[in-house]
Symmetry: C2
Subunit: 122 residues, 2 copies
DNA sequence: ACAATACATCGACCAATGTCAATCTAAGGA
DNA sequence: TCCTTAGATTGACATTGGTCGATGTATTGT
């Protein structure tokens, strides 16, 4: 078997060989597209006002809050709060339900936990 | 007992009364300072390049990677990668160790999981 | 001592983001 | 019908953030 080659210990199938300074791999890294998607989700969450909005919503027994709950507790203008709500809806963390004059925002079940899970696995 | 008052069901001790449109609370929301701190951590993570850096580092068997591992895999200039590394070190997700000519970056154990845990509890 | 290499820092630039005042829209109440 | 209220949208503005070229700083090899 003169063609048999002993691979360096740092080689893992499908992973390109590393530089001299590099150490062995235990697994492959996250795919660029996955990193993009996760970054988009995290970006939607990485604002103090938006985190407080999510927290206020999920603090309600029915996981639903109206905008007045938010304007009461956040020291931000109404348009700014409305902007943050839009960001969270677009990112898939909240849903909007209009009933009469009021808008109610609900937490999308599992959306936060999903991001937390993916993050912990990065 | 003419002084006894029946509190509305929406009242929870220490929580200010809600508007007419509001629903009952199950707990209190996150404190503003905690939201600030969590937002800072998440902001450090909410970039595709930085997520990939963390992933590449933790993909190594010893949870350590040199900068050349990163410049190989990320299509970004060396100063840009250096910038992202600084952000992650400042945020407490990575530590730097210089050995000879090379800089090695390691994952701070538990830092990612901690953020994920706090996030899931928001 | 000198050249080369690895990486950090600096300065500049453009894009993205958070904020608010002003305005618009729709739903209720008089 | 008209006024009021709740909340979304628009436009402008200042700030932050990602990127790179140029430069600085150690460290290694000759």
């Amino acid at each position: 078997m003169t063609f048999t080659q002993i691979l360096p210990l740092t080689d893992i199938s499908g992973v390109s060989p590393a530089d001299a300074c590099s150490s062995p791999l235990a697994r492959t890294a996250i795919a660029p597209e996955s990193a993009d998607a996760l970054a988009r989700s995290l970006k939607a969450l990485s604002d103090p006002a938006r985190l407080r909005i999510i927290s206020i919503v999920s603090a309600h027994a029915d996981q639903e809050a109206c905008v007045c709950d938010l304007t009461d507790q956040l020291t931000l203008s109404q348009p700014t709060i409305s902007h943050h709500l839009k960001v969270l809806v677009d990112a898939g963390f909240l849903t909007r339900a209009k009933r009469g004059t009021w808008s109610y925002y609900s937490l999308v079940p599992g959306s936060l936990g999903s991001v937390a899970g993916v993050l912990a696995a990065v």
